[in-house]
Amino acid sequence: MGYINFKGNLQKTSRKISRKDTLIYQMMIMPSTVLYILFVVYPFFATVGYSFTDYSNQHLFDYGFVGLDNYIEVLTSSLQLATIGRSLLYAVLMTAFQLLFSIPLAVILTNTRIKGKSILRTAFYFPAVISALIIGYIWSFLFSTSFYGPINNALKAVGLPVINFFGNPDIALYSIVFTQVWQWTGWAMIIISANIASIPTTYFEAARIDGAGPLQQFVRITFPLLHPAISVIVVSSLIGGLKVYDIIVSTTGGGPAGATLTIMGYIINHSIGGGYLGLGSAFSVVFFLVLTVLTVFLMKGLNKWEENVQE
């Protein structure tokens, strides 16, 4: 996503387009445009609109303007602010650990002579094909504290205390981060591998002639040139992390005691489920603003990195 040409240089066609052809072109662009306006543009502005009203299950048709009341409630509610903070923490941790594990994996699977690389790639990538919902159930069984939970049985066997991974409010969120890092590291690895493969081998040869060791080559050549892949992973995994929902449903359901309640969980369970639509809309707009600020800062940081590399 980060690699899109934002300048939008549209190719100039030299010949004139006939009126009939223009009409056909217009027809071709219509389906996407209509769907887009109906399902993306309109809901966004409608949400902004709802956020200034007392729209709720009690006022489904007779809702009225309440000014900034909803926003004041969101910004003074420790529950809602904690939800945003928790989602941010989750997204940052998930992204950081994914990069931490996927970069060495990708380097080993691209730059060394080990055998069976394609089998290894397939194996590491495989969890990414499975739905997050099912991944969550699998780990619920593995982490279970009941008689069959294999991981806790193993802990007991070596004399360690049982850990209630998804039931202990202090560690539940980190346990979920763990399952998602497990699931998505292979995906990140594939993207980084493609990036490493695109680095000209002459760079490494020149570095070797200058006597650079493998570590120096990684620090000086590989890592700085991983900028495109890392941008893609950081942006999509942060945004994906902030939207996390499915994995929460199948591991903790937002509990224990709200310790894993995330933004989407709040919007779906409390705003839609509880019928507080105006308040939920204000919460969504705050979420949108947080996301926008985060994206802008990220883009700035990543662009600066790109400029430094190009110098």
Binding site: S32, Y125, Y148
Partner: protein, 293 residues
């Protein structure tokens, strides 16, 4: 892992003697395979457990079954209404993947080949939309689906699926179209008197095939695995997708814990098959979609 990389990177190995290097290569290979096995143990555990008795699962979690039991698959198959759920999932994912890919291809073609004012404005709107992650507007979307009577309908999810993936596709195809050399072939087609629509379907779409495949694969995995949208917009059990059936049975703990393993495996099975058949395309697609997209 980092240590392994430093030690075994080919680039650093040229000073070490040949045999030593070979030993290191094999040691690194063994270490990586061990890591892969450890990573996949959770999935192995679930799959192997589906064939075992409760006692075996509890006391020998990783062992092969002494006797293979298939009967719980029959229970799981029935409880999940498997054929119906599979059909519902197909009825949602196949049309939405095909339609969204076709719509995106058509739109990006128009944007690239006919950059007039209207199309430039629409393109700018698409770019601006990247800032709005769909879920922000979920409340309004929820209401809209009810207003349009798309709630509790498979077709409603098709429409949602179409719209959810199309933007990414438009960017990818636009980049592909403006960087590839199709204009010459298209001009030749013009000389031969080939109409615009025919040109699009007969010449441009086949040329776009690599991008189209990538798009279709990525969006299929996304739509297939999605739990949130079907959970929000489908209420009748008869319309449930695979993921909803998994949730209904496993999440609500309405069956015994052993049969749940079989349900999870049945839930994973179709996409796993798809992945094993098309793994090369899927993984190159992921890389291309991310880096070129």
């Amino acid at each position: 892992m980092k240590k392994g990389k430093e030690k075994f990177a080919r680039s650093g190995a040229f000073r070490i003697s040949r045999t030593k290097r070979q030993i290191k290569t094999w040691a690194a290979t063994a270490a990586m395979f061990a890591l892969a096995v450890i990573m996949l143990i959770p999935i192995y555990y679930i799959v192997v457990s589906t064939f075992k008795t409760a006692q075996e699962v509890t006391f020998y979690p990783l062992a092969f079954p002494l006797e293979w039991h298939f009967e719980r698959y029959i229970t799981a198959w029935k409880d999940m209404h498997y054929p119906r759920a599979l059909l519902n999932t197909l009825l949602i994912s196949v049309p939405s993947v095909c339609l969204s890919t076709l719509f995106s291809a058509a739109a990006s073609y128009a944007i690239v080949r006919c950059p007039n004012r209207v199309n430039r404005m629409i393109y700018a709107m698409f770019i601006a939309g990247m800032l709005i992650p769909g879920n922000v507007s979920l409340i309004a979307l929820y209401k809209l689906m009810q207003t349009l009577h798309l709630n509790n309908r498979l077709s409603g999810l098709v429409v949602l699926g179409c719209n959810g993936v199309s933007l990414m596709s438009i960017f990818m195809m636009r980049n592909f179209l403006s960087s590839s050399v199709t204009t010459e072939i298209e001009n030749a087609a013009d000389v031969d008197g080939c109409g615009l629509l025919r040109k699009f379907f007969v010449i441009v779409l086949p040329l776009l095939r690599p991008v189209l495949t990538t798009n279709m694969i990525l969006s299929l995995v996304g739509v297939w695995n999605d739990y949130m949208s079907p959970a929000l917009f489908l209420q009748d059990r008869t319309k449930y997708t695979l993921m909803l059936e998994v949730y209904q049975n496993v999440g609500q703990f309405s069956t015994d814990w052993l049969t749940m393993f079989n349900m999870l495996v049945l839930g994973i099975a179709p996409l796993t098959l798809f992945f094993l058949l098309l793994q090369k395309q899927i993984m190159t697609g992921v890389a291309a979609g991310a880096v070129k997209g």
